[in-house]
Symmetry: C2
């Protein structure tokens, strides 16, 4: 079973994937994306992946979207956390869930190519799996994310997203929760709502907006062309998305991804959904959102050593480029 | 002037390098490492780099090591911080220093190839520049780091390290300071001293040790083959290194880098020195150290979204591989 270990100084948790036990030569240069022509996510190869936890069929009764446990999970679903100490150290079992959302049956279509209906189905699949997994009280946080392109860590070209359920609240999210709570305790307002109000009035960092959502270049963006999508009305929990919001989110997400593709020549990117911890109820201080980060620059010693980031493209300029991108039609 | 901006939710600072203003097409694929044959760090090309702040000559009066301000600094040395707010946001001028330490006059020798005397001179150069820059009270933290290899963010092949002086204490260091202080307030012991005591007794994660230093695979290593070098006796400030310690550090650093090169086929890597903030005095709770991280895995959506890391090589196994690496001689 994988093991979770905590850094005794800064509290950061690390998953030590003992079973994988990668030896020095395993890191040599084999391309991450499969090249032998076999794709485990393609129609006809369903038997090589675990049983589905969620599936959508089209009118011809062919599957259109499939969700199943990752065959090589970073965390395992059976057992309990079994927290224990070892001198100054803390550890627990690598308990969790790790699922794959195959977004389309077509090997060659990317998320950006899908219809608004299909993108809506992907968001619905995220929501359905989230709601099902949060019933398991062992899971304190559920992270939904997507890696697109090899440089962004994708190991299979067939378009997919992932979901990892964790037995602890991750550090990055914890920091946001603490910061948002501090603001709320002092001002009794959600800091993300304050940011939205200021940005929508100012306009210089608003990439896109529709009735329900805004896409902003964050004021202190870590990466060039980093863009966040937030619901315009306060909403603390991603899983509370209404049908109407799902349709709006599909539109703004597709619009943003098309613009990133046009502006940056199909860049590798990651996106991840940040939301309230799974076992907490709705609240006034946290505001769920999606962070989209194109992978255009390298993270080096300065960034690893300091936690500072150097962003060579001011967010205001990124906004202008994305707004001016030519897209076939408006969404 | 570059601008420092703070994320209003989690407090992270970002350097927005406005002057660089990289446009979308600037990110297309040009190799980072120079390929036109001209090296600004080679002997004969001294006139293209700024004036040296530190230089070591050999017996033939040829320079052997040169330190000078980075020609394309991420922060600028003139002016003041001029902190100001902008609604919910905080910013300041990108005040700081950014220097380059060219470690050898030879274009083809890497740090690992240098003699122990030469590596000692590199450490002495770090120390001299650190002591000089900390006299400027505007600089609250001075980070010394090295990027080796293109994948680790190095843009020039000629062996060099860098130093960046910052007007704020970076988040990663702040977290370590807070964690170390919490331990000290409770136990009146340095947590790094506690870790060293436990590790040296246990032995499973001790890669190397000499009279003054130990090289450990951290219990919760983020990356495969991540290794930390720590002084065995408590020392809070890097700049207090004695002559004897410099000789010991040169030996263990060379030994470790040779073993990483042999074990992992000359991997790209970063190292960075973590020490007490420049304007703070010596203290009982923080213990300076060097973090060496080979760049073998990709950071993807899960890591960016959570701050969790997945390490596929248990630190105990990494230790064994590094210990068993064949090196020409013992140091």
């Amino acid at each position: 079973m994988p093991e979770l270990r905590q850094d005794p100084v800064n509290g950061r948790w690390v998953i030590i994937a003992s079973e994988r036990g990668r030896r020095p030569t395993d890191f040599d240069t084999a391309p991450a994306v499969e090249s032998n022509g076999f794709c485990p996510f393609c129609p006809g190869n369903e038997s090589v992946t675990p049983d589905t936890t969620h599936v959508i069929h089209d009118d011809a009764d062919q599957w259109q979207l499939r969700v199943f446990p990752n065959k090589f999970p970073v965390l395992e679903v059976e057992g309990d956390a079994d927290r224990s100490g070892e001198g100054v150290y803390d550890r627990m079992n690598g308990l969790g869930a790790h699922e794959v959302i195959v977004e389309t049956r077509s090997h060659d279509e990317q998320l950006t190519d899908l219809s608004l209906d299909q993108i809506g189905q992907v968001i619905r699949a995220y929501q359905a799996r989230y709601i099902d997994l949060k019933r398991d009280f062992r899971f304190r946080y559920i992270l939904i994310f997507k890696n697109h392109g090899e440089a962004a860590g994708s190991s299979l070209a067939h378009s997919h997203s992932q979901l990892i359920a964790l037995p602890v609240i991750p550090k990055r999210v914890h920091e946001e929760l603490v910061g948002a709570k501090r603001h709320y305790d002092f001002k009794e307002r959600c800091i993300f709502c304050d940011i939205l109000r200021q940005e929508l009035e100012d306009g210089r960092r608003v990439v896109l907006e529709n009735e329900g959502f805004a896409a902003l270049s964050p004021y202190a963006a870590r990466f060039p062309f980093e863009t966040w999508i937030l619901p315009k009305e306060h909403q603390s929990c991603f899983e509370h998305l209404s049908d109407e919001q799902i349709e709006q989110l599909a539109r703004i997400l597709k619009n943003l991804l098309v613009r990133l593709r046009e502006t940056l020549n199909d860049p590798p990117f990651n996106f991840m959904i940040h939301t309230t911890p799974a076992q907490d109820g709705p609240n006034g201080y946290y505001h769920w959102h999606i962070e989209v980060i194109p992978k255009l620059t390298k993270v080096a010693g300065f960034e690893w050593g300091s936690g500072f980031y150097v962003n060579p493209t001011p967010p205001e300029e990124a906004t202008t480029f994305l707004r001016e991108a030519r897209t076939e039609r408006e969404f």
